[in-house]
């Protein structure tokens, strides 16, 4: 039984009316309050209560992403379609036809095209909905184990039958069906590992813990005995947050955190069996609440088009007004003498000229309705869908390595790709591989250059390029896989997991999962096999040896020279200061009996108990240590610490602050070693590190190269294997995770050798350097080390390496105790928890002792410099917005040719707003200010100067630059620079920069990034591109397009962007032309029929002309035409500028096309007019040739516009013309009395027997298209000239 909070009390049977009232009240109530949800076990409440039908207000686990049901489809779909203004307009016109006074066509017929369009859209929606239904069904019918009260065991049930409050049991590699609170696990520590690739794309394993109190259960978890009540938040979409508490029968409360929640769509890994209670089901799960589906944006072209549609409306109104006035005058001229052909109204009275004019205005709107292209929107949608299809299918946008291809997530902005002006790129993971390779390090001021490692990397690079060559020739994946067996195993493993992903969650989830499924998570051999620097290796060995000696001789560790101890700590920090999880392929951890239970210190009593040197406590505790469970009030307490001899000694030592006695120490870890041997350690070093970020993995692998290997990580301890010393187990007291504000992470551990409490911190150099211990008297040496390290750090940055500083702090017991107190408060607070934890972390990460620094190389992705060069040639401005430090960013910029060495670089580093504005003013004068570094003399802006400027600005300065008062100056400066680099920028700043450029410069912006920190910028930009890289899927989820690699941007923009843009622009223009030309024919006729609104074109042709006869060729051209072949577009990036300048569709082009339409319609009207003038021709025998001519002209016009002819083009054109003749011929013999007023019986047949018909059909299109055809070769001349010119310019550049 599960209910929302306000309905918590059991409802007795109430009369229906009352119940209704209750419901109403409840609804009102729900709006106001009810911020929590209460979940109880469904197994409770037997008896009459259970008989009651489950009128649960909570969603069950049935997945329903369909929009419609069989009944609601029609009304709901129509309702949705009428949200589109154009549809309302067309229906309005069709309905206008039902008014007899103004009707122009047979009302039923006039409805036809509107219905056709609506039907096409409806069928499309229906099909989409049906496929959704099918996949829903598949997911709904997946099976999982749910506890059944009657059978008293877990039974197979469909996912859709799972309800909130049910108990679900999951096995290894099963997919989680709902959001489940973890209550029991086969894991000894009550852990459960899950893979969240389906949710966020991160392939590393995450740990989840069971609710604390249930850990102490000595027996198997029994759902029937579960009587606690869970209070938690209402369903929300925040994946990283879950709060609540569980109230036990005893009235005690435990907090619940996100670590306790298993999210739907994730996969259970490495854990044999877990059980939990369903908290959120179905659409209330976090996974589904996060699934927002494809995004809809409006492209620039469409915005421009809409303006022109408005122009069309205006033209329509003018034409109608003109006709109305004309008709009024026409009626008026006859005065009282009504001519026989002016038919009176139904009542026999003649209309007054004014009234006639008013009626006629409405009639004309119907007659001229075609001017607003009814099929335009549908056609555009179809064309875009096809364009998306082709982009998806492009082999060049497929990445073999990750087996992923381009993904269009926004379906309707393909043409924007062809109009980009600014690219804002993230650096890490976007330009670079985000494969971190350890390159060099410096420890206590001494640099170890790792030359051998560098040589090895160079070899990999060579091998890579060789491989590519062979891959290009042979083109198989096998060779790549054979590089390491480990990798291939991994691939297999991943593909296995991919399979299961296919069945999960929703389609989107599955899609996301499969993109990443083959990612080898940060562990290519290049990253793993690090050749150690011989010097450092020697020192490490020496250090370890002396440690061993010291230990065996009971010497205090402090006897180690500072350098060696730094080295030792350095590697310990590399190994343990992270969140890397050690796994072995696919094996759940065994359930082992544990002799020792340690946990992060959770309560103050815990701390006291552990560290108070009170024999009494230890004694009392050791008495109970024979059983694993301690008193109920202290969950997971490490009472057993105190039970073993080693703990005894620990306490002793704590008291005496002495070094370990060797014996005890030996005892300590030999026993541990024994234990671990049963545990997860697989043989032969086949350990896999699952890291949250690639840097972490790189560091761990680096440490392993120095024989300092991470072998196991539990929630409470980290095991490290060291040379000579063997395995050391650090008690992990706290992990203070990384965040982008602190820019560092720390672990608090107890050192097994010294038994001190150590804080190891790893973070960005700028941050760490500020947190270092103020120099004490003996700090002279320390100071030297710091400045040396800083020098090396700068050196690393110049080499383009990512730098991290490693620091350590030794905490005294008192310090730790006081910190712990506040930290525990922070941890246990339910509100404001994050904020308090942050503060708490800040408190402990001070007074650090610098150990050393590392330089990690993040290799550039393949083809990045070339891509950037090409995009640049295409006139795209490329800005790099990165959170990295300035030097690193500049170096990457040089490496990817964004900056040139002969380029002058303006660096803006300002401390305050005043300074910033000062420096800005200085820029206008050739002097360098104190805030401007590397400033160059500035000449007045000219093109030559533009290309030689680069702007580098850091985060602080950027904040000033983005200030309202300065943003214009900043932009004008940035515009004059060839490239702009923003370093140290926060995600918010990134998006602000993009927004600034987008809004102020009215430019088309594209943002590309791969990580969560790029999401805001991706969302702000006109087109957001996500890289489906190893950093997770947040960027991809927010993006409009997801590409596997940065280099794919080149083809996406230069080729597909150009094509999509030019195709669509041409099609839209053509649409306007076509409709205008057709309607103008009718308009000219009004001059010869007394502006009475009659049309010489049969209403069938009139209505179906757009939809049937002339639609196919333009669709084919819109989808398939290639104005310039792909190779040329890539080879001559210069051509991309046509899209940026909107050359294909400029405002004046609309009018040019209108004028052309005017001319063509005049020709098509007056040639038949004069030919048949003063003859016995009847209205429709004259109108039919006009229709034919118009069709010929329109199709030939398209033929001139078409640049390449494929079979589809030919057949669509021929098909259209044939279709017209067939329809006309059939229609004209079908019924002698139908279709008033035209009643075209035998018209076409008769016409086709007359030579004049053919003569007109030949001459009219020729004359109509003569101007366009004459200009056409000239246009092609220009195009060829541009290609040659651009190509030559490119070559000239290449030579220089």
């Amino acid at each position: 039984m599960a209910q929302d909070a306000e309905g918590g009390e059991d409802v007795p049977q109430v009369p229906k009316e009352e119940e209704k009232e209750r419901k109403n009240r409840r609804r009102r109530k729900r709006k106001k309050e009810s911020k929590t949800r209460t979940v109880r076990s469904n197994l409770l409440l037997p008896g009459p209560e259970a008989e009651k039908p489950q009128r649960s207000p909570l969603a069950n686990n049935r997945l329903k992403t369909t929009k419609y049901t069989a009944l609601s489809f029609l009304p709901k779909n129509l309702f949705e379609q009428f949200h589109r203004l154009a549809n309302v307009y067309f229906v309005f016109i069709a309905l206008l036809n039902f008014v007899p006074a103004v009707n122009a066509f047979q009302p039923e017929l006039a409805l036809a095209p509107v219905l056709f369009i609506l039907a096409v859209t409806a069928i499309k929606d229906l099909w989409e909905d049906y496929s959704r239904y099918r996949s829903d069904n598949e997911i709904n019918h997946m099976e999982c184990l749910v506890y059944c009260r009657n059978e008293k065991k877990y039974m197979n049930r469909y996912w859709k039958e799972v309800e909130v409050g049910d108990f679900v049991q999951l096995r290894c590699n099963e997919i989680i069906p709902a959001d489940i609170l973890l209550l029991s696990s086969s894991d000894p520590d009550g852990l459960c590992h899950i893979e969240t690739a389906n949710l966020d794309g991160e392939t590393n394993l995450k740990q989840r813990q069971i609710v604390r109190r249930f850990l102490e259960l000595d027996s198997e978890f029994d759902p029937l005995k579960f009587t606690s009540v869970i209070e938690c938040e209402k369903p929300n979409n925040d994946l990283s947050r879950f709060r609540g508490y569980i109230v036990h029968k005893s009235g005690k409360r435990d907090g619940l955190y996100k670590e306790n929640l298993l999210l739907r769509g994730c996969t259970v890994r490495n854990t044999e069996e877990v059980t939990g209670i369903v908290i959120y089901a179905g659409h209330e799960t976090k996974a589904l609440l996060n699934n927002s589906g494809p995004r809809y944006k409006r492209s620039k072209l469409e915005r421009q088009m809409n303006i022109d549609v408005l122009w069309c409306v205006l033209i329509l109104i003018v034409m109608c007004l003109f006709s109305a006035i004309g008709h009024g005058l026409w009626v008026w001229q006859y005065g009282e003498k009504k001519p026989v052909f002016d038919v009176p109204g139904l009542d026999g009275n003649y209309l007054s000229p004014v009234l006639a004019a008013v009626y006629l205005f409405l009639t004309m709107i119907i007659v001229f309705q075609v001017l607003i292209p009814i099929s335009l929107y549908v056609s555009i949608e179809i064309v875009k869908a096809c364009q998306v299809f082709f982009i998806h299918q492009d082999k060049d946008l497929y990445d073999e390595e990750t087996d992923s291809q381009l993904q269009c997530r926004a379906l309707n902005i393909t043409e924007d790709l062809g109009q980009m002006q600014y690219i804002f790129s993230d650096k890490t993971g976007t330009l670079t591989e985000n494969k971190m390779v350890f390159r060099r390090c410096t420890v206590s001021g001494i640099e170890y250059s790792h030359d051998a490692n560098a040589r090895r990397l160079a070899m990999y690079q060579e091998a890579d390029s060789e491989e590519e060559e062979t891959a290009a020739k042979g083109g198989t994946l096998s060779q790549r896989n054979s590089v390491s067996s480990h990798q291939s195993i991994k691939v297999v493993h991943r593909s296995l997991s991919m399979k299961s992903h296919r069945r999960t969650g929703s389609r989107a989830e599955a899609k996301r999962a499969s993109i990443l499924s083959k990612h080898t998570a940060f562990s290519s051999p290049m990253e793993k096999d690090i050749t150690p620097d011989p010097n450092l290796l020697d020192k490490v060995n020496e250090c370890a040896r002396s440690l061993e000696v010291m230990r065996s001789h009971e010497q205090p560790l402090s006897q180690l020279t500072p350098e060696l101890s730094d080295i030792f700590d350095f590697f310990i920090a590399l190994t343990i200061c992270n969140t890397v999880v050690v796994t072995s392929p696919d094996q759940p951890r065994q359930k082992v009996v544990r002799f020792e239970l340690k946990s992060p210190v959770k309560t103050i009593e815990d701390f006291i108990r552990r560290f108070t040197p009170s024999r009494l406590t230890s004694g009392s505790n050791s008495s109970s240590s024979s059983s694993l469970t301690t008193s109920k009030s202290m969950p997971r307490l490490g009472s057993s610490i105190l039970s073993s001899t080693s703990t005894e000694s620990t306490l002793l030592k704590l008291e005496e602050k002495l070094a370990h006695s060797p014996q005890m120490n030996n005892n300590g870890y030999s026993s541990q070693q024994e234990r671990r041997a049963i545990g997860s350690r697989p043989e032969g070093g086949e350990l896999r590190y699952e890291a949250e970020s690639p840097d972490e993995a790189a560091l761990v692998y680096a440490a392993r190269a120095y024989n300092c290997a991470l072998v196991g990580r539990l929630s409470d301890q980290v095991s490290v294997e060291l040379p000579h010393l063997g395995r050391l187990t650090f008690e992990l007291l706290h992990t203070l995770g990384f965040d982008s504000i602190r820019k560092r992470m720390s672990v608090v551990v107890r050192h097994p050798l010294t038994d001190e409490i150590n804080v190891y911190t790893k973070g960005a150099d700028s941050v760490i350097m500020d947190l270092l211990l103020p120099f004490d008297p003996r700090g002279n040496h320390q100071k030297k080390i710091q400045s040396k390290t800083q020098n090396y750090l700068n050196l690393y940055a110049v080499d383009g390496l990512r730098t991290l500083c490693i620091a350590k702090r030794v905490l005294s017991k008192e310090e730790y105790a006081s910190w712990l107190k506040s930290h525990l408060e922070a941890e246990s607070s339910i509100e404001n928890r994050e904020e308090l934890l942050f503060q708490s972390a800040l408190r402990i990460e001070t007074n650090l002792h610098l150990l050393g620094a590392t330089g990690i190389e993040d290799r550039l992705q393949d083809g990045v410099p070339e891509t950037i060069a090409n995009l640049r040639k295409a006139g795209l401005q490329i800005w790099i917005l990165t959170g990295d430090k300035q030097e690193t960013a500049i170096n990457i910029a040089y490496a990817c040719k964004l900056l040139d060495h002969d380029e002058e670089i303006i660096t803006l580093n300002a401390e305050s707003l005043v300074n910033r504005s000062l420096s800005d003013d200085l820029l206008l004068k050739p002097t360098a200010g104190n805030t401007t570094v590397g400033f160059c003399p500035l000449s007045p802006p000219s093109s030559s100067v533009h290309s030689s400027l680069g702007l580098v600005i850091d985060g602080k300065t950027l904040a000033y630059a983005l200030d309202k008062t300065l943003e214009d100056k900043f932009l004008s400066l940035a515009r004059r620079c060839r490239s702009v680099l923003c370093c140290r920028s926060t995600p918010l700043q990134k998006s602000m920069v993009v927004k600034l450029v987008r809004d102020k410069l009215k430019a088309m912006t594209l943002a590309i990034g791969d990580g969560a920190n790029d999401v805001s910028m991706i969302q702000v930009a006109d087109v957001g591109v996500g890289i489906s890289g190893p950093e997770g899927m947040q960027a991809v989820m927010a993006s409009d397009f997801a590409v596997p690699r940065f280099r794919h941007l080149e083809k996406l923009l230069l080729v597909h962007g150009h094509w999509c843009y030019s195709r669509l622009a041409n099609m839209v223009l053509y649409f306007f032309y076509k409709n205008a030309m057709f309607v103008a024919l009718l308009f000219w006729y009004q001059f010869y029929c007394g502006f009475s609104g009659s049309s010489m074109i049969d209403q069938w042709y009139l209505i179906f002309f757009n939809v049937l006869f002339s639609s196919l060729p333009q669709l084919v051209t819109g989808v398939l035409d290639k104005d310039i072949p792909a190779e040329v577009l890539i080879g001559v990036p210069h051509l991309y500028k046509s899209g940026q300048k909107m050359e294909e569709y400029q405002p004046h082009m609309f009018w040019m096309n209108m004028i052309d339409a005017l001319y063509q319609s005049l020709v098509c009207f007056y040639i038949p007019f004069f030919t048949y003038y003063d003859s016995e021709v009847d209205l429709f025998s004259w109108g039919t040739p006009i229709t034919t001519i118009a069709l010929f002209t329109i199709i030939l016009h398209l033929a001139i516009e078409t640049k390449t002819w494929t079979l589809f083009h030919w057949s669509s054109c021929i098909f259209s013309i044939l279709l017209f003749f067939i329809v006309a011929l059939v229609y004209n013999v079908s019924c002698p009395i139908c279709y008033p007023p035209s009643n075209p019986y035998w018209t076409m047949e008769k016409l086709m027997g007359e030579p004049v018909f053919y003569l007109i059909c030949i001459i009219s299109p020729v004359v109509a298209l003569l101007p366009r055809y004459s200009i056409f070769p000239l246009c092609v001349y220009m195009l060829v000239a541009r290609i040659l010119w651009g190509g030559m310019r490119g070559k000239a550049k290449g030579c220089a």
Binding site: M142, Y334, K337, V340, F341, V343, G348, F390, Q393, D394, K395, Y398, D403, Q405, L477, S495, K499, S500, Y1088, C1089, S1092, L1120, K1122, I1167, F1169, F1170, T1171, Y1172, Y1173, D1174, S1175, E1176, V1177, D1178, L1179, G1183, K1203, T1204, W1205, T1206, P1232, I1233, C1234, P1236, P1237, N1239, Y1241, W1242, K1246, V1252, L1255, I1259, V1262, L1266, S1270, F1272, P1273, A1281, W1285, M1288
Partner: protein, 348 residues
Amino acid sequence: MKNKNSQGAQESPSRCPDNSAFKQQKLPAWKPKLTAPTVLSSFFTIGVFCLLVGICLILYARSVKEIQINYSDICLNCSKLRENSSNWDKECNCSVYFTLQENMLGDVFMYYRLQNFYQNHRRYVLSRSDAQLLGQDVNIQNSNCAPFTIYPNGTPMAPCGAIANSMFNDSIQLFYYLNSSTAIKVPLLKSGNSWWSDKNVKFRNPTSYNLSSAFAGTTRPPYWQKPAYLLDEEDERNNGYINDDFIIWMRVSAFPTFRNLYRHLRHTNQFADGLPAGNYTFHITYNFPVTKFKGEKQVVLSTSTWSGGSNLFLGIAYTVSGAVIVLAGFIITAIHLKLRKKKTYFQR
């Protein structure tokens, strides 16, 4: 389900898109080659073709003989009489004399021509009942004929609608003066002037044992002088709805100035080859008022060719556009030659 999944995985080991020409947008395609020779030759070919056709057409059109006589001016008395609708039952006759300078050989057609008569007015075009004209018994009150459907006394009009009501009802006869005193009636055919499909498919009289009973219970339209079944008393197959004059009138013309085929020459005796040159006279019974809408009436005699009537327009259009295209060809040639000389064109 597991099976299915594993199969699926085997089938799609890679997400690599197909390397098919269609999907990679590499379909074999023809690119129009726009070299100077192809463009220019297309210009010249089309131009010359148009010129030739144009000249042909002009020659043929000029061979057509045509005479047009405006009789609403000549029969001024009758026009004035008809201006007042109360005189509708007064007969008014009028003779128009003219001389043919040349023989009109071959088929000779007689047309009446109306000016400023807007048969193409929207509501006028609508105002008919095709079902009624097909002889079906329909309730014309619901048809488009309104308001020309029934009289106030309830009798329906046959045929109904404004088109039928305003039918041209002058009768024109042509006499040929063998000499200055004797005139013989030129034999003209009343039937065979309309479209075959109209006469045989679209128009049908109501079925009954005779025509007058078929129209029983209906009355003529208000402007008509006699009921529909008396349109041609001499020829059963040209009476009622299938009267050729009626059928032709019902085919509304495209322009306010139009001609309708009225009669064509029957080739007998003197007229075996057509109309010989000489003096003629039209005897016109003037019924159809045109002054109300400032219209004029003409009677036209004309021969025809395969390319239509005497209208020169099409020929001229071909000739002129042919000339323009050829001229354009020359201009483009000139530009091309100039550009080719200037080799630095592309190397700005």
